[in-house]
């Protein structure tokens, strides 16, 4: 056998390659069964980027259906609650140019809001409970209803069904806990910085000149 192969190098090469091909084919086939990924990972990834407001403004009954829609080639700029940031993130994921957000009439879509029920006007009709995709409204027939602020995504869907118009959307206020520093707004031309609140400016004190401030390097 060995002799035969050594006398026919071409045949030997073909044989070797053929065997290798068979072996790798087998491994790949096995792997494709063994490590099969359940579900459509791209839909998962898209769904992860959507804000999960479940508001339906994209024309789908929730964020996941829209994710499926995008996976099937729908436009990526239809989610007003996500804002431009979501469009950009989706564009990044899918490797396409980011179109401008198609916000429709909702001009102030990117201000986060929560629903607020004016409780003495509520007649306890339970209509809003049925409308809320988040189960974020608490109440019972003929009882006053209220919104669980932490669970409300601000999707707006409970406002329309209320027969006495006692639900309004209120912007979420910044508190000391949620506040954070703004990015310094610097125009590079000549304008001074918009007086950043950070100090660290005493380097311009008169005695700064005498005291070397960067002597760490010098030392």
């Amino acid at each position: 056998m060995i002799e035969l192969l050594s006398t026919h190098p071409i045949a030997a090469a073909i044989l070797a390659l053929g065997l290798l091909a068979l072996a790798f084919g087998g491994i790949l086939g096995f792997a494709s069964i063994k490590f099969k990924v359940e579900g459509d990972p791209i839909v998962e990834q898209i769904d992860n980027l959507l804000p999960q407001t479940q508001c339906g403004q994209c024309g789908h009954p929730g964020c996941r259906p829209y994710a499926e829609g995008i996976a099937n080639g729908e436009a990526i700029n239809k989610c007003p609650p996500g804002g431009q940031a979501t469009v950009d993130a989706l564009a990044g994921l899918l490797g396409v140019d980011a179109p401008a957000l198609d916000a429709g009439e909702a001009e102030d879509a990117d201000i986060p809001k929560v629903a607020y029920i004016r409780e003495d006007e509520c007649i306890g009709c339970t209509k809003c409970i049925q409308a809320c995709p988040m189960d974020a409204i608490l109440g019972a027939a003929k009882q006053m209803h209220t919104v669980i602020v932490d669970e409300c995504t601000g999707c707006d869907l409970c406002v329309e069904p209320c027969p006495v118009d006692c639900i309004e959307m209120r912007p979420i206020e910044t508190t000391v806990k949620t506040w954070h520093w703004e990015k310094p707004n610097i125009s590079w031309a000549s304008e001074s910085t918009s007086t950043p609140n950070i100090i660290a400016t005493d380097k311009l004190t008169p005695n700064d000149a005498q005291k070397p401030s960067k002597d760490d390097r010098a030392a």
Binding site: D135, W188, A200, K203, R217
Partner: protein
């Protein structure tokens, strides 16, 4: 030292003072110290404030919960708010007086935002609660000492205000080897710890011993002080003699006082990124915290006052002041004779890490170690920022061995992934990089903003995940409910089918007695009814109400829209078009709704007129449902009896002679049961048919046998109606007029009483069926009267 060394972050030996080896940290800067001006006078007690403002979150962790009410009178040191959970702290009244408000008040916070504060108006007496002295505190357990510290409300006094008791109680599994007391005070201007060490060394050392006891006497207890505080060092060295406590002195460099930096200097260990010092066996506390802990344990003093450096050239007096927590800063400024004209801004904390305040009306809080009131010359506003020249000075200055320039670029482009991979969260916001930057770029502000945004995004992500879960759960629940409903409907249909079969049998029997013509007639009626029921399944009343509502809401919308239009015409003419369009839309909707309502009214008028009384029918449907239930119950009984018979028979076959007798008995009993149940069912069905027939009869009495449709009864009720109509046909044939009437009256009275009961129940519950029910009762009464009349006539 070289830059490469700094980058690698290798701690280097810098000195060996007589007792311990010291290490160095990378980077660091030497800003002008400006410490002397506030060290010229001893600690002065500030006068009692007229009112104090005590925020409910002066510490890291959950805000405290107030336990007093507006109008309450409180004494100095009295508990006014409790800690809410483990990582939280209580708040004590810092003066005696009356609670005048618990409301939002601006905080000493970079944002200038407000938060809940308890405001006390002092009565000027400073009457204190009795303080519990504990001369024997050394005999107490670590646990009870920790409780005392927690209840005294002590927060870390140097930095962010982490509850001291939490830090002193490291997670199980962390064995603490080093207790480091931070007397570094590396930031310019601040001298509060320096002067405290000079004047109150005894209490500090007692406090350090106390903390060491709580931590189980770690083998290394050291007080770290920078070498620019010779007096404090001398006093402390003197005081720690004869104790196992060391005083370590190291060269002045900003920011040696950062927790991680100090650990590195004193132990040579680095705290891993994202971990707490306790993970490498170190606990760091500030000297002022140690002092406060001792005062709380030994003398029972809650944390109601602190030493604050009040400094700046706009003040006539620059000194350290012992001040009650909650004192408005304006009081402090007045006390130190501020020259308002020269004051350029107010800074809380040091010049490197502090922040500018928005107003002087904010209070001193647990973490206020310094208040700077500089003149414009002393601290000019930041010069304009220029473009980064990539000089790399910032990287050399960074004590955390980060690459500030890179971080800056990524923060500008908001590339959060890159920021995190460049360890943004290891930045201690010391400001060294901004300090050295020749282009005056406010680097730290970029990092702070980026950190804030990343954290916010994380929170949002978390919320989105939770929302997704809730939404999916809700979908599932709805699907399940639907499936259950479907299953129930199927079961009902099945039951109806069975009943129909039985009735078919009955019909076969009835056929022998009844006339063929009648049969045909009612059959017609039945098909009619069926057809109509199929086409109309909603209650016309409900539909009408819905449409009326639609009209109303459309009207409301129209009004609103036109109001808006009018308003906009006055104020914002540019939006006119939009509003006008809205009005138009609302109008269209209104006409639409009105038209629908009209259509509906004309179409239903006819059927409502002819179709008898819908409310009675509802009631009938309900009665029927009851009957259905009863029948189901009986059928079940039969089934179970049959089952047991089968079982017993099976067992009988298997059993030997001895047991056979017993089983035979059982079998007999079961068969008996079966018979009984069957007769009962038969009886019940009979009864059902006759009453149903009667009821149907009276609705149909007006001459023709043309059965009326029941628009609101579902399909299976319709098939029941078929059966009833058929039964009625046969029953009618065999009854005399008088008998019929009597039975009818009987039935009616029964139904009336039932209806009244239901009505009462509905009224009690306040159910919205109430109206329909009362209508039904009314109708029943009228019918009953009519029937009685008829009977009398007959």
């Amino acid at each position: 030292m070289t830059a490469a060394n700094l980058q690698a972050g290798n701690p280097q030996l810098i000195a060996t003072d007589e007792e311990r080896t010291l290490f160095t940290i990378p980077g660091g800067v030497h800003p002008p110290e400006n410490k002397q001006q506030s060290l010229n006078s001893p600690i002065v007690a500030a006068p009692l404030p007229g009112k104090v403002i005590l925020p409910l979150s002066q510490h890291i962790g959950a805000p405290s919960l107030p336990i007093v009410r507006v109008g309450d009178h409180v004494l100095t040191g009295q508990l006014i708010a409790e800690g809410d959970g483990y990582v939280s702290l209580p708040v004590h009244a810092s003066v005696s007086g009356t609670i005048v408000a618990i409301e939002e008040h601006p905080l000493p916070h970079a944002s200038g935002l407000s938060d809940l504060c308890i405001i006390i108006e002092s009565d000027g007496k400073d009457a204190s609660i009795p303080m519990q002295e504990r001369p024997d505190y050394r005999n107490q357990s670590a646990k009870s000492l920790l409780d005392i510290i927690r209840e005294a409300g002590i927060a870390g006094m140097g930095g962010a205000g982490f509850p001291a008791a939490v830090k002193l109680n490291p997670r199980a599994g962390c064995s603490i080897e080093h207790l480091i007391i931070n007397g570094t005070e590396c930031e310019p201007y601040i001298t509060a710890d320096d002067i405290l060490m000079q004047e109150r060394a005894q209490d500090i050392v007692a406090g350090v011993e106390l903390l060491s006891k709580i931590l189980g006497e770690p083998k290394d207890v050291v007080i770290g002080i920078e070498d620019n505080k010779p007096e404090a060092i001398a006093t402390m060295r003197e005081t720690v003699k004869n104790t196992p406590i060391q005083v370590a002195v190291f060269p002045t460099k900003y920011p040696s006082g950062g927790e991680k930096q100090l650990i590195q200097i004193l132990t040579g260990k680095e705290v891993p990124s994202g971990e707490l010092p306790s993970s490498i066996g170190v606990v760091v506390q500030n000297v002022a915290t140690a002092y406060a802990c001792y005062r709380a344990v030994r003398y029972g003093e809650p944390f109601i006052s602190r030493i604050t450096t009040v400094v700046g050239e706009a003040l006539a007096e620059q000194r350290n002041v012992e001040v009650r927590l909650g004192t408005p800063l304006s009081d402090l400024l007045t006390f130190n004779r501020v020259n308002e004209k020269k004051l350029s801004r107010l800074i809380m904390g040091g010049p490197m890490m502090g922040f500018a305040l928005h107003s002087a009306e904010v209070p001193v809080v647990k973490t206020t170690n310094c208040l700077i009131a500089p003149t414009k010359k002393e601290m000019p506003p930041s010069p304009p920022a220029l473009a980064c020249i990539r000089c790399g000075l910032c990287a050399e200055a960074c004590p955390a061995s980060l690459l500030p320039q890179q971080l800056y670029w990524y923060a500008r482009s908001e590339d959060h992934e890159k920021l995190e991979s460049h360890h943004l969260f290891d930045c201690i916001e010391c400001g060294a990089c901004s300090f050295v930057c020749p282009s005056n770029i406010p680097l730290v502000q970029y990092y702070r903003s980026a950190k804030g945004k990343i954290k916010q995004q994380e929170i949002e992500k978390e919320k989105a995940d939770r929302s997704r879960q809730r939404f999916e759960f809700r979908q599932e629940r709805i699907a399940r409910a639907e499936a259950e409903k479907e299953a129930k409907r199927k079961a009902r249909q099945q039951a109806a089918l069975e009943a129909k079969q039985k009735l078919a049998e009955a019909k076969a029997a009835a056929e022998q007695h009844s006339e063929a013509t009648q049969q045909a007639n009612s059959d017609d009626a039945i098909t009619n009814a069926l057809a109509k029921t199929q086409t109309k399944t909603t209650d016309p009343k409900e539909q009408q109400a819905k449409l009326e509502r639609a009209v109303q809401s459309a009207e409301g919308r129209l009004q609103k829209a036109s109001a808006r239009l009018v308003e906009s015409q006055q104020h914002t003419p540019d939006k006119n078009d939009k509003f006008a369009a809205q009005v138009k839309q609302a109008e269209v909707r209104l006409t639409d709704a009105k038209k629908k309502l009209n259509d509906f009214l004309t179409s239903t008028n006819f059927s409502t007129n002819t179709s008898g009384t819908s409310s009675t029918q509802t009631q009938e449907a309900q009665n029927e449902a009851d009957k259905d239930k009863e029948r189901l119950r009986l059928e079940k009984a039969i089934n179970s009896a049959m089952n047991s018979i089968e079982k017993t028979q099976a067992r009988l076959a298997e059993a030997d002679d001895e047991k056979r007798e017993k089983f035979e008995k059982q079998l007999n009993a079961a068969q008996e049961r079966l018979q009984k149940a069957e007769t009962k069912l038969a009886e019940f069905m009979n009864q059902l048919e006759t009453t149903a027939a009667q009821e149907k009869l009276q609705t149909l009495q007006p001459a023709t046998v043309d059965a009326q449709p029941e628009p609101d009864t579902p399909m299976d009720a319709a098939s029941a109606a078929i059966a009833r109509a058929q039964a009625k046909a046969s029953a009618r044939a065999s009854m005399s007029e008088e008998e019929k009437l009597k039975e009818q009256i009987d039935g009616l009275t029964k139904r009336l009483s039932k209806a009244e009961e239901k009505l009462a129940a509905a009224i009690e519950e306040g159910s919205d069926k109430q109206e329909a029910l009362s209508l039904g009762v009314e109708k029943l009464k009228i019918k009953l009267q009519q029937a009685q009349q008829q009977l009398e006539d007959a």
